[in-house]
Amino acid sequence: MSWVLALPILIPFMTAVLAFLLRGSRMGDLASVAGAVASLGVAVLLVGVVLDRGVVAGQVGGWQAPYGITLVADHLSAAMVLITAIIGLAVAVWSLAEIGPESSRLGYHALFQSLLGGVTGAFLTGDLFNLYVWFEVLLISSFGLLVIGGRKQAIDGAVKYVTLNLIATVLFLAGAGLLYGATGTLNMADLRGAVAASPDQGLMTLIAMMLMVAFGMKAAVFPLFFWLPASYHTPHYAVSAVFAGLLTKVGVYALMRVFTLIFVGDIGYTHEILLWVSLLTMLTGVLGAAAQSDFRKILSFHIISQIGYMVLGLALMTPLAVMGAVFYLLHHIIVKTNLFLIAGVSRRLTGSSDLYAIGGLYRSAPLLAALFIIPAFSLAGFPPLSGFWAKFVIVRASLDLGEWLVAGVALLVGLLTIFSMTKIWAEAFWKAHPKGRQPALADLPQSARWQMMVPIVALAVMTVAIGAFPSAFLDFATKGAEQLLDPAAYVAAVLGEARR
């Protein structure tokens, strides 16, 4: 049982070693893709096991919980692992066209795979300190990926990114230390009971707030988001695509895990803060995007506003709302990564990411335009695409609670998202290129064309499929939300029936 939980973490690291040893050669690039395929295989296996048996747990090194490091997979974790593997494979293939021999020799593929390993580890761990370790792994590999482009601008973005993330990490570590001092355990399932039984509930709320700030910074919520638009538009497009898809979602996942499993003692306080934070996040993100004219900067600000929806689902804390958050998380990763990949192709074709300096893609690259429409409209919440169902569930959940303001903000932000997407559409696709160029997909070398377009088409197909057949995915998300709101199965799987 433990192996199916450990392999999704181990395979990316083994791939990283292999890709580093073969770096700079074609074999190294292919090793990365092969590793991504293997990761996808184990992830599918893991989801199968979870669907079959419910929550599964394994103990690393055979040390029983709560003393050893526990790996746990419930519906949410398993789905996140699967989606990480999907994004990993898509971007690994796409990278083949963008990442030149220079970045490859510097160890791009090794860093990329360690990043995937770190993300997967964070989704699977059942131990708070181990989660911290995975955050560090993520931070180190993402720093490497940010600077590997090597331009001055990239270093500038990377320094902001690392400084702010280090602050978050230190806060997390301090919170974990206090928690260990107060309860004597860091196993998350064990913490649920220990925190509830603690005589000092004030301290527990304090620790909850420290972790909220730490994870909130990672997730880029208001007012801690400013590192994200400062750094996401500088590195290679493949790097920003995988960052946009996965990195902030680790923060959201950590918030969802900790504020459903551990800190549920003072929901009126903690989740009220999350509610206001989420509303402000949605609004500032979407308004920030309206002021931008760079393809990737607009998309970066939209990550922030979309994070707001997920945190909103968590803050409302009803079964429907949490289900919406889970569904939103899964849909968003696919859509956002795809938009960044499309931005990369558009940059390659037109030579710039400044929307005012490019144009004409609708006429000269109609396939790319059609493929842009799918994730862009999904992001804005057009039926019948995946984003419609995600927004629908969240808005419905807030209406059920009589939170008219919340529902109103959620709908308004959706509307403003359309504004930004039509801006990209009008500038990059519709209007003629200012210099009269006709950037066509046929200009790309044939291999690059396939390597770039196949992942984009695959992700777009997934977006359409989730939108067209939402019930299977909504059922899955419902099950995930049930497990989050009633973690008895989670605790039992980790600690065994006896200590339930």
Binding site: S2, W3, A6, L10, F13, M14, A16, V17, F20, L21, G58, Q59, V60, G61, G62, G107, A110, I140
Partner: protein, 133 residues
């Protein structure tokens, strides 16, 4: 840095740091210590040497590319965790080989891997920083 005291002292201290890092690594099994802290101490020795003699000399004294050390360390750590699959145990379960008074285990191999990974990663970062600054 042009300091006679530092450059003479560093030659002596680097060796001492490395020796101490090995001591901490081996001590780590049952007492405070282990691969992570050992790797940090060992890396500190070479960092000191690079301050005194320059990065180029430090790289030459190290003989191996620090990135390669780090990656091989990671490989050793991961493989030691996989070894327990052969005995169909949980991942990273320690396997023991007891020879008279000497107890060898995959846990030690894991720690050596961590030592090398930390050692290589820190030196990669510090050397790169010193070269660009």
């Amino acid at each position: 840095m042009n300091s006679l005291i530092l450059s003479v002292g560093a030659r002596f201290l680097t060796g001492l740091f490395l020796l101490f890092s090995l001591f901490v690594l081996l001590r780590g099994h049952n007492s405070p210590g282990g691969g992570f802290i050992g790797g940090l101490i060992g890396a500190a020795g070479f960092v000191l040497y690079s301050f005194a003699a320059g990065v180029e000399d430090a790289r030459r004294a190290l003989r191996v590319d620090p990135r390669a050390i780090g990656v091989w360390g990671m490989a050793i750590a991961v493989l030691s965790g996989l070894a327990s699959a052969l005995a169909s145990l949980d991942p990273f379960t320690g396997l023991w080989l007891i020879l008279e008074d000497l107890a060898l285990s995959t846990v030690l191999v894991f720690d050596i891997g961590v030592y090398l990974a930390v050692f290589g990663a820190i030196l990669t970062l510090v050397f790169a920083l010193e070269e660009t600054v």
